[in-house]
């Protein structure tokens, strides 16, 4: 066994070395001030108003800046482009004072008009993250360094939202000159998506050099960035689909940081020159049911609850991440306001069968399940789907699994919908409202659409919408209580059924320093150094 492992390691080393040679012409990883990062890309766009994905978070938070940043404790808000901010008593109007020294990568100053233009574009382009601008009714710019945002009603989470990478401030003059539009007709008038694939127009620590889909992305240090001293001048993200290849590349020195190694693979790594740390994260994977999807069987509330009770949550954690994960009670993951004291999900097959019988489907039914054929946070979604298939077979539900490329899956889930799918989510900022806005069965919101709310009005949960309004108007002290009510309300929908929050494996060369998990941004490159 040892000999075989040695041979495998030699083979792994050779293949990883070849990949590394192909990666950087004449250079090994971390040579000079270059850092090479292995990551499976899930980009849907590089345009700040269109992008909405985990890798997008990394790109946007490093090539652009938001008004507010998230501290190293992943909770506290810190100044970024805004040096200070104030809110009115009912939290429906916020005033921001911009850093007068902040500059875009072309040397031009970051001004209030850029903030207004970026926010309006995010709102009007109606991309995946447009919900973050929900309720913004007016943006005033009394002078070049002051921005006043007026909301339709109270929003106690607005400042948190502004720490999300998707609220990036774009150089409006440059972007507009290249086809970008922010007006009410931006959805049709904006022609800049292709331009953003080759260019960035932000004030972040790095700027885009090149991007090749499903291959690599290169960034270089922004010379105008003064917020901190950058140790790394060039960053190469290498699209590396699976955890094993990422581990091999890291072990052989082909890359300096591997972002999606699963705990099982981490246990097999030779860590002599590596730092491999496993830490809890807010990321989670979930089962999503879509009663209104095309071809869906009758997924009544009872059937949905039966499905949630049939899942073997402990087994899922064991099978997908070798036990290195935790259960998640509600679509608001543990650790966020409102999740304290929520009951952890438990398998209860007897009750599940009882509910199936009550719903008149004791003999079960068939359900189609398409899922993205990829690894998310170290979890192989094919493995997860097969485990769920095994569990649901126990209550006579036959899942027909179809693995799809991520982009195809995304089109299907946003199009006709998928009756039962598995997916994943990482927070965009520290705050619970994002989960309500994204997963809540509130008319017009992303997962209400994906679950087929237009075809099946019964999934709409007016209570969640009402509670969200109450939460957004609540004081800091009252927020956890209201969000707990929301979490319970969303749990009762049984549309989004979280199954595991996998621990995050931070794996990098010992030569690289400053690697940490950021709840909003995944990986902050400006904090990374090379010894």
């Amino acid at each position: 066994m040892g000999t075989i492992r040695q041979h495998l390691r030699v083979a792994a080393f050779l293949s990883a070395s070849l990949s590394a040679v192909a990666l950087l012409p004449g250079a090994a990883a971390a040579e000079g001030n270059t850092v090479v990062i292995a990551r499976s890309f899930d980009f849907n766009s590089l345009d700040p108003a269109r992008a909405f994905c985990d890798t997008c978070q990394i790109y946007l938070s490093n090539a652009y800046e938001s008004l507010i940043g998230l501290g190293t404790d992943n909770k506290t808000l810190e100044p970024r482009l805004a040096t200070k901010w104030t809110g009115n008593a009912d939290q429906s109007q916020f005033t921001f004072t911009l850093d007068p020294d902040a500059k875009f990568s072309d040397g031009s100053p970051v001004e209030a008009k850029d903030v207004k233009w970026s926010f309006e574009r995010l709102q009007n382009l109606k991309g995946g993250a447009a919900f973050m601008m929900d309720g913004v009714t007016k943006i005033d710019t009394p002078d070049a360094t002051t921005v006043v945002v007026t909301l339709a009603g109270p929003n106690s989470e607005f400042l948190n939202i502004l720490s999300a990478p998707y609220t990036a401030v774009v150089n409006s003059d440059v972007a507009a000159a290249n086809g970008a539009a922010a007006g009410a007709d931006a959805e049709t008038a904006d022609k800049a998506e292709e331009w953003f694939l080759a260019n960035s127009a932000g004030s972040g620590a790095y700027q885009l050099v090149s991007y090749k889909a499903d291959d690599e992305m290169r960034l270089k240090a922004n010379q105008e960035y003064k917020r901190s001293k950058l140790s790394v001048t060039d960053v190469v993200f290498k699209h590396t689909k699976d955890a094993v290849t990422q581990a091999q590349l890291l072990e052989s020195g082909g890359v300096d940081i591997a972002m999606q190694i699963d705990p099982d693979t981490a246990k097999t790594m030779n860590t002599d020159n590596l730092t491999v740390e496993t830490i809890p994260s807010y990321n989670f994977l979930y089962v999503a049911l879509a009663p209104g999807a095309k071809g869906a069987p009758k997924l009544t509330k009872e059937v949905r609850e039966a499905i949630s009770l049939a899942l073997d949550y402990d087994g899922i954690i064991d099978f997908t991440v070798g036990g290195a994960g935790t259960k998640v009670s509600s679509p608001i993951p543990t650790g966020f306001p409102g999740t304290e004291g929520l009951a952890a999900p438990q398998q209860n097959l007897d009750k599940a069968k009882e509910l199936m019988a009550k719903a008149g489907v004791a003999d079960g039914f068939e359900i189609n399940s398409e899922f993205p054929n990829m690894n998310a946070y170290g979890v192989d979604l094919s493995l997860l789907s097969q485990k769920i298939q095994q569990d649901l077979a126990k209550i006579n539900i036959k899942m027909n699994l179809t693995p799809l490329e991520f982009s195809v899956w995304r089109d299907h889930v946003r199009g006709d919908g998928i009756p039962l799918t598995t997916s994943f989510y990482a927070p965009d900022y520290y705050g619970s409202a994002q989960y309500v806005q994204f997963f809540g069965m509130i008319e017009g919101q992303p997962w209400w659409n994906r679950a087929g709310g237009k075809n099946d009005a019964s999934i709409t949960n007016p209570e969640t919408a009402e509670l969200l309004k109450k939460a957004l108007a609540a004081t800091e002290a009252d927020k956890p209580g209201v969000y707990k009510e929301i979490a319970e309300s969303m749990m009762s929908d049984h549309i989004i059924i979280p199954v595991v929050s996998p621990n995050l494996v931070l794996a990098h060369s010992k030569k690289v320093t400053g690697v940490r998990y950021s709840a909003c941004c995944n990986l902050l490159l400006n904090e990374i150094g090379v010894q």
């Binding site: 091999q248 097969q386 298939q389 699994l401």
Partner: protein, 279 residues
């Protein structure tokens, strides 16, 4: 002396050398597996039967995979899918290819030109890329993978059959049959085709293993069998996720290797047997 006589008496013909016997045994074994697997006292290939990622042991000879399923059971059940699909693909490719090739070779002229240009176009693409493109456009799944493989394979038989027909149709007995008033279909079916089957048979035998390999390749990249169907290619793909748990890939890997080798050995033997020059 008597021993020498015995050896001479049981000496195998040239074409039936050791590899052919080995190939025959392998094919016989897998055929028996396909026909009788439901009666074997082995674990369910879909259900979890033990702890996940267990190395080979007395209870689970090939170990268990990431979902605690018995790798040996999945490998043996995988044979049914892989071999039956290969049979269907080869049968369809031979049927379509030989029909079109025979028509092209016998009719000639414009019809020959059209069919052979179609063959040229199809053969211009690398088989795996063409199969991937077709499967991707039709959607992942076994049926679509089979269709893709038929599209990839029929031209080989069309070209082979056309060549055979062109060679045979100028022979004297064919000319005599035509002069005697035999119609086109009678000439083709009775006087030409019976003399063309031997290279087709050899090729089909050799291709059988290649179809198993291509089917596994398509499943490996997620375009073939859907989980949790036990299929050799998808099993190897799942095993690659747990690279250092070598036993997950070993079972289906050995199965593919043995089937490809077995059919190649038999194909070689058949070629030697059917080709008088090699006797």
């Amino acid at each position: 002396m008597s021993q020498s006589v015995a050896i001479t008496a049981f000496r195998l013909p040239n074409w039936a050398k050791l590899p052919v016997i080995i190939g025959g045994l392998i094919v016989l074994f897998w055929t028996a597996v396909v026909l009788t697997i439901n009666f074997w006292p082995i674990d369910d290939p879909i259900e979890m039967v033990a702890k996940r990622l267990m190395p080979p042991s007395a209870a689970h000879w090939f170990g268990t995979d990431a979902l605690g399923r018995d790798v040996l059971s999945r490998t043996l059940h995988g044979a049914r899918l892989s071999l039956l699909m290969s049979c269907a693909v080869i049968a369809a490719a031979v049927g379509i290819g030989c029909t079109l090739g025979a028509i092209a070779g016998y009719v000639g002229g414009f019809v020959d030109g059209i069919i052979m240009r179609l063959v040229d176009i199809t053969l211009a693409f690398p088989p795996i890329l063409l199969a991937m493109a077709i499967t991707a456009s039709l959607g992942p799944g076994l049926e679509n993978a089979a269709i893709a493989m038929i599209v990839v394979w029929w031209p080989v038989y069309a070209r082979l059959m056309r060549g055979q027909v062109l060679t045979v149709k100028v022979r004297e007995h064919v000319e005599a049959a035509i002069a005697g008033g035999a119609g086109h279909s009678r000439t083709l079916l009775t006087h030409i085709l019976p003399l063309t089957w031997s290279p087709i048979l050899v090729n089909a035998t050799m291709d059988f293993g290649q179809v198993v390999l291509l089917a596994a390749s398509l499943s490996f990249i997620g375009l073939g069998a859907s989980p949790p169907t036990p299929e050799w290619g998808s099993m190897i793909s799942e095993g690659a996720i747990h690279f250092y748990k070598w036993w997950i890939c070993a079972g289906p890997g050995i199965a593919i290797l043995s089937v490809v080798l077995g059919f190649n050995f038999i194909g070689d033997g058949l070629r030697d047997y059917l080709d008088p020059r090699s006797r």
